[in-house]
């Protein structure tokens, strides 16, 4: 029997190596939190990383508004006959330009039976004519003279924007594919409407715009000179904090910032960065991706 024991003990060895084989190991690298990334300069140029220096700057905030061109009431003249009577003659027709004091028509007064002239009260364009010789003037409007040399743009300012808009602000107007700069002349509430009107006076001598045309405006609401700015596209979010990547030699370190005001292109930096620091202004996403890349995995 003793002999069997020896033999059996040799045999027992067979099972264990087979079980060993089934133990599959896989070695993954270790993970640790990082907020910096190292990229060689020749490489960073190749991948399109651009840096710039943090500097003071001016922020200019804008809002976009829409509106239309209206005839200015002060430039629109509706001409009535002073005394009712018969229209003897009409000197102008639609489309004529008249100067102040030009005779528009001659009317025979019903009371005095005398002819009297109807003069243009202002320079402008005849846009309406409802008077022909022989007609009674009654109490009706005979002509409309409009002066289009100055026009008014009325932009709608909705409640959410209202407090930012004040008179005197500059506005970039885009109308009829032309853009021009102007000033907000005043802001008035519109009757029965939820919005206010920001009115902008335009000189129309060269533009030849006609009332009713639609315009888009960008009002420069506020302007600030700030001590330090960073480009908007430079700012990335990392672990819930916003910041930029500061370049130090060939390493890029995430620097969380306290950001203040912003405009279309820049953020104001309240703290976290010194003036003149070199930070990544373009393709900053690449660096964020590099820092977080250990999180990238395929889980399907």
């Amino acid at each position: 029997m003793k002999n069997y024991l020896l033999i059996l003990s040799l045999l027992l060895g067979i099972v264990s190596p087979i079980q060993n084989i089934l133990a599959d190991e896989d070695n993954d690298g270790e993970e640790h939190e990082e907020t910096a990334s190292h990229i060689d300069d020749d490489l960073s140029e190749k991948v399109g990383i651009v840096t710039t220096f943090a500097s003071p700057g001016t922020l200019s905030q804008t809002i976009t508004v829409y509106g239309e061109l209206t005839q200015a009431p002060e430039n629109t003249h509706e001409i009535y006959a002073r005394f009712p009577g018969i229209i003897k003659s009409v000197n102008i027709s639609i489309g004529d330009t008249v100067k102040e004091g030009d005779r528009l028509a001659t009317i025979e007064s019903n009371e005095s039976l005398k002819d009297y002239p109807l003069h243009a009260p202002a320079t402008g364009l005849i846009v309406q004519r409802q008077a022909n010789p022989g007609e009674l003037t009654q109490e009706r409007q005979l002509f409309t003279i409009v002066n289009l040399d100055t026009a008014w743009l009325e932009f709608r300012v909705y409640p959410a924007q209202q407090e930012k808009v004040n008179k005197g602000q500059t506005i970039l107007v885009v109308i009829n594919d032309q853009s021009l700069e102007a000033l907000v002349t005043h802001v008035i509430p519109a009757a029965d409407k939820p919005y206010a009107l920001a009115r902008v006076k335009l000189s129309n001598t060269d533009l030849n715009l006609s009332p009713g045309q639609f315009a888009k405006g960008k009002i420069h609401t506020r302007q600030f000179d700030v001590a330090l700015t960073v480009k908007k596209e430079a700012v990335q979010e990392l672990d819930g904090r916003f910041g930029v990547f500061v370049k130090n030699n060939e390493s890029y370190e995430f620097t969380p910032l306290v950001l203040g005001k912003s405009d279309d292109n820049f953020f104001e930096v309240l703290s976290g960065l010194d003036s003149g620091t070199e930070y990544v202004s373009e393709n900053s996403y690449l660096i964020k991706a590099d820092i977080l890349k250990s999180e990238a995995e395929d889980n399907d």
Binding site: N20, D24, T64, Y158, D290, A296, N299
Partner: protein, 1041 residues
């Protein structure tokens, strides 16, 4: 019975020889039908159901598509499980069936269920089943590129959109016709679309809404048939054509009239060929391209299909516009041919070596040729068997074939017959008469047939544990075991019938049996050595025992891997970027990456798939790119001796420097398998099921912390769910109401403005392109500007968006995974430095005690630990049973438990050599090495069996134990050496080969060669010593009687 078969074979020897022709004919015919591939197909029976839902976010896709589809599929017969993922614009449900389910049956069932839920799904969304293909399906890929000086008909250089159009409408329809191709998948470029992009202020001015535009386009883009009329006997068809054909025609469509003035499209919008919101892109050598993938039907022959596709693509080239080139970039035929070449080379060289050894040791060419003839014959029989049982020819199935092993039985028979014939010729001094010769052949054969049959039976039995492997391992190794068993049985049948018949026919005349010089020298050395061993038997036995103990220890120090990786020759690397990375950003990063890879002199081509292709066979987010690196043939390398792993290392180092990418290096087929099987690949996976994603994440985090605090936990991590920032436009309901708007009007407006609204189709012959209304790109991208965009009111007025909605950017789920109809989040962990079982128990206990799992949430434990556990449990039962069966066979053969156990000692002794050789070659333990050990045990038992049977017979004849042992050992020296030499030499080409696929076979061959050397030495010394030692007492007992 064995004897009557033998007698029949020798009597009817010519009839039996004529069976050779039958075997040949059948074998060659079967070979034509044998599916050939590089590796076995390990994909499970699965059907993917993809629903493309443009614009749907993961949450919406899950809620409105995935859920109904999953629910509809519950309770299908033979269903194993379902899993799903919902991503931007896509819902994919993968239905996995039990092994062995007919795929067409499964698809039919699914089709029926999908039909029933059509009405539940949002209108216009069609769930579609993925192609009937497997992990081996992506057999051919090609890119479409234009020469730099090639021009489109409008004189401009080719755009990605134009190339995609060529792929979709010229190449794809033709390739789809190739037999065996089930799908041609496209990725890259843009689907051509006509975009109508209205300018907001013009919309306001003309009081036109998005809806008005879409409606106007729909109402002006239709052909109508109006029946027919007969005029003067002639039939005239009446039709009213009205389809839009050109951009000019679109511009002229009238939307409405304002005060009698028509407002046309061109008054308010621009029309141009635009880019779709694509989900995937492709690049090649650092430039965007269009990539086509031909997928093979399940069960087709990848080699022929890939070749046919390549030929067809050459044909198609003629039909492409001038300057546009469709170039193959990946062709499976190359790999299969290489793998087959490796196998063939191994087999042929092995066979030649076997023949040489046989000739040298037998000293008789005819005998050597007869034995060698078993090789092709058993091969042909095996091929026939493979076709019948549906086993495909690949590296795995053909990899374990060792002709040395196969001819073992025949070697023993032929050797004995030659020896007996020669002896009798020596005694009688001349050539025997026919009858006498036949008799000698019969006797010689029947003398050894029993042990050799038992031996083959044992080797076959030894393979049984492999058949108990399940899952991926099972699929990988069943073909291997099946093929070897078939080959062994074929050889067994042959050595029972054809071999004696051939010996009887051809071994006439003078039998030259020269003992070669090597053999006689060995014999001269062997006798004194053996006697010495008897003297120091304690030393010998304890040395053997120590050797076994040492190698067992050594085995534990070897690393282990499950399956050695087949070197596919090409590299696939997944470039992973942080979730939420946009497609265009990803493409840019990929281009940089590819340029760097391409700069390696060893690289021929590099191309990538980024994101999800048209048919979502592999739904990746845009942040992930599958990069394929095709290497130049090795002889074109500047340093042809550089190994692939060296190249990989260099590449990894270089790519590591490129910022923003994480890499996973793998290989094309391997990657595809991983994608399709995609279970939990860590040791332990804890799945948390429940409803609320936030709660799931919270609980998962809890569990992650618990797991991390348990000793032995490594790489514990939680599945990423968050990560895709989303911009939510949240309606202010009160304000909306004040302006007379519904939420849906706001949503529609945003959907059209940002995502676009389809307003019909433009036909160009067969080709059809979508007509889309959406905001100009400039405005779509400007998030701040979005707030002030004017939203039209029902009364013709407008308000800026910020009046009625707030914008909010916050992280949201990038994808939602579900399993068996419930949302789930997985926490995975690997185990280091402690055993898996206790770790899992610890984890379970701690989670039960510490984790707060709210009602309605539950856990499920899975991972490889499950497979390992079940495999270990199964093997723990099956391996001892197998050993018992072998022991039983041995006891049957000898009628003695003692002898059976003595023979059995050969097994651990054989293993020592295997372990040593692995250690010498610095190879880890693996399943293939395990298969080698299994084959080895068989050979060791066979050797011992033959040796012991002879010694025992001699002992019975002569009565003196010691002399019988020594004489028996000496007589059996030649066959033992022969079987050992042929078996090990047969594997030498395999052990040394460096060709494609050799790495799968190398461990196996290494183990067998090393093991056979040790087992032969030990059979020759330890076995006789043990036998003598064990039987000494019984001999004394005999003498005492």
């Amino acid at each position: 019975m064995i004897e009557s078969i033998l007698r029949l074979a020798i009597e009817r020897r010519y009839l039996f020889l004529s069976f050779i022709l039958v075997i040949f004919a059948l074998g060659i015919w079967s070979y034509q039908k044998l599916p050939i591939d590089a590796v076995p197909d390990i994909t499970n029976v699965q059907v993917q159901i993809n629903t493309t839902a443009p614009g749907y976010s993961p949450l919406e896709a899950e809620q409105r598509i995935t859920y109904p589809v999953e629910t509809a599929l519950a309770g299908l017969p033979r269903l194993s499980h379902t899993r799903s993922l919902s991503r931007y614009g896509l819902s994919q449900v993968t239905v996995v069936f039990e092994e062995g389910t007919d795929i067409y049956f499964a698809r039919n069932l699914i089709n029926e269920r999908l039909g029933a839920i059509k009405s539940v799904l949002p209108q216009g969304l069609e769930p579609e089943m993925g192609p009937i293909s497997t992990g081996l399906g992506e057999i051919f890929m090609y890119t479409i590129q234009a020469n730099p000086d090639a021009r489109m008909t409008n004189g401009k250089p080719y755009t990605a959109t134009a190339l995609r159009e060529i792929q979709d409408w010229i190449i794809k329809p033709q390739l789809a016709q190739v037999k065996g191709v089930i799908e041609v998948n496209s990725i890259g470029g843009y689907n051509k679309q006509y975009h109508v992009t209205p300018i907001p202020e013009k919309l306001l001015y003309h009081e036109v809404s998005f809806n008005d535009i879409a409606n106007a386009l729909r109402a002006n883009n239709e052909n109508r048939g109006a029946g027919y009329i007969e005029k003067n006997g002639q039939q005239l068809l009446v039709r009213a054509p009205g389809q839009l054909a050109t951009i000019e025609e679109i511009l002229d469509v009238i939307i409405k009239q304002n005060d009698g003035i028509p407002v046309k499209i061109h008054d308010i919008a621009e029309v141009a060929i635009g880019k779709e919101l694509r989900t995937g892109a492709a690049t090649r050598d650092g430039v965007e391209t269009v990539l086509g993938t031909a997928m093979m039907l399940i069960g087709a022959n990848s080699r022929t299909v890939a070749r046919d596709v390549a030929l067809k693509l050459e044909d198609i080239q003629i039909s492409l516009p001038e300057g546009v080139v469709a170039e193959p970039v990946y062709n499976r035929t190359t790999l299969v041919d290489k793998a087959i070449a490796t196998v063939t080379k191994n087999l042929v060289e092995g066979a030649l070596l076997v023949i040489v050894v046989l000739f040298l040791l037998l000293g008789n060419l005819r005998a050597a040729l007869i034995t060698a003839a078993v090789i092709p014959l058993s091969m042909l029989m095996t091929i026939t068997g493979m076709v019948k049982t549906g086993v495909s020819a690949n590296l795995m199935s053909l990899g374990a074939l060792d002709f040395g092993l196969i001819v073992d039985g025949a070697v023993i028979i032929v050797e004995n017959a030659v020896r007996r014939l020669a002896e009798s010729q020596k005694q009688n001094g001349g050539i025997q008469a026919l009858r006498e010769r036949l008799n000698i052949v019969f006797e010689a054969t029947s003398e050894v047939i029993r042990p050799s049959l038992f031996g083959v039976a044992i080797i076959t039995v030894v393979y049984i544990p492999i058949f108990t492997l399940t899952g991926v391992e099972g699929k990988m190794f069943h073909p291997m075991a099946a093929t070897v068993v078939m080959a062994l049985i074929s050889a067994m049948v042959l050595s029972l019938t054809l071999v004696p018949a051939a010996v009887a026919v051809f071994m006439n005349g003078k039998i030259s049996e020269k003992e070669s010089a090597v053999l006689s020298a060995t014999k001269r050395f062997y006798r004194p050595a053996l006697l010495l061993a008897f003297k120091f038997r304690w030393l010998v036995v304890s040395f053997a025992a120590m050797l076994v103990a040492f190698s067992l220890w050594l085995a534990t120090t070897l690393g282990s891997e499950f399956v050695p990786q087949l070197n596919e020759g090409d590299i696939a690397l997944q470039a992973l970027r942080i979730p939420g990375t946009g497609l265009e950003q990803s493409v840019e990063m990929q281009e940089i990456l590819e340029k760097r890879i391409k700069s390696f002199p060893e690289v021929d081509k590099v191309f990538s798939r980024i994101g999800t292709p048209e048919v979502a066979t592999d739904p990746m987010p845009p942040s992930i790119a599958d990069t394929f690196v095709i290497l130049k043939p090795r002889d074109l390398w500047s340093d042809p001796s550089k190994s692939k792993s060296e190249l990989l290392e260099e590449m990894e180092e270089a790519l590591e420097r490129i910022p923003g990418n994480n890499y996973e290096f793998t290989q094309p087929i391997e990657m595809r398998f991983n994608e399709l099987i995609s279970g939990v690949r860590a040791d332990l996976g804890i799945k948390i099921f429940g409803d609320d994603l936030d709660q799931l994440m919270f609980t998962a985090n809890d569990i992650l912390q618990i797991v991390n605090s348990i000793e032995g936990a490594a790489d514990a991590r939680m599945e990423q769910v968050e990560g895709l920032p989303s911009l939510s436009v949240i309606p202010k309901r009160e304000t909306l109401g004040r302006y007379g708007l519904n939420v849906v009007q706001l949503q529609d407006w945003i959907a059209t403005a940002i995502g676009g609204e389809s307003a019909g189709i433009l036909y160009e012959g067969d080709r059809r392109f979508e007509l889309i209304v959406r905001l100009p790109e400039m405005l779509r991208r400007d998030i701040e500007g979005l707030m002030s965009l004017p939203l039209p009111l029902p009364n013709g007025d407008y308000i800026p968006l910020e009046e009625v909605a707030t914008l909010n950017i916050q992280p949201s789920p990038a994808q939602i995974s579900r399993e068996n109809g419930k949302r789930r989040v997985v926490v995975t962990a690997n185990v280091r430095g402690r055993d898996l079982g206790s770790f899992v128990n610890d984890v379970k206990n701690r989670i039960q005690q510490e984790a707060k799992i709210p009602p309605g949430y539950w856990l499920d434990y899975g991972g490889t630990f499950e497979q390992l556990e079940s495999a270990s449990q199964r093997l723990a039962i099956v391996v001892p049973i197998t050993l018992l069966v072998i022991l039983g066979i041995l006891v049957m053969a000898f009628g003695s438990l003692k002898d059976a156990l003595i023979i059995f000692t050969g097994v651990p002794l054989a293993l020592t050599g295997g372990v040593l050789s692995l250690w010498l070659r610095d190879m880890p333990l693996s399943i293939t090495a395990g298969v080698g050990f299994i084959a080895l045990s068989g050979v060791a038992v066979l050797n011992g069996l033959v040796m012991l049977a002879f010694i025992r017979d001699l002992w019975h004849e002569k009565g003196d134990l010691l002399t019988s042992v020594v004489d028996g050992a000496l007589i059996r020296l030649r066959p033992v050496l022969m079987t050992a030499l042929v078996a090990s030499l047969g594997f030498i080409p395999m052990a040394l080969n460096t060709g494609t696929g050799a790495e799968v076979q190398r461990p196996l061959a290494t183990v067998v060669i090393g093991g056979i050397i040790s087992s032969t030495l030990l059979t020759l010394f330890v076995l006789p010593v043990l036998y003598h030692w064990v039987h000494r007492r019984s001999e004394q007992g005999v003498e005492a009687e």
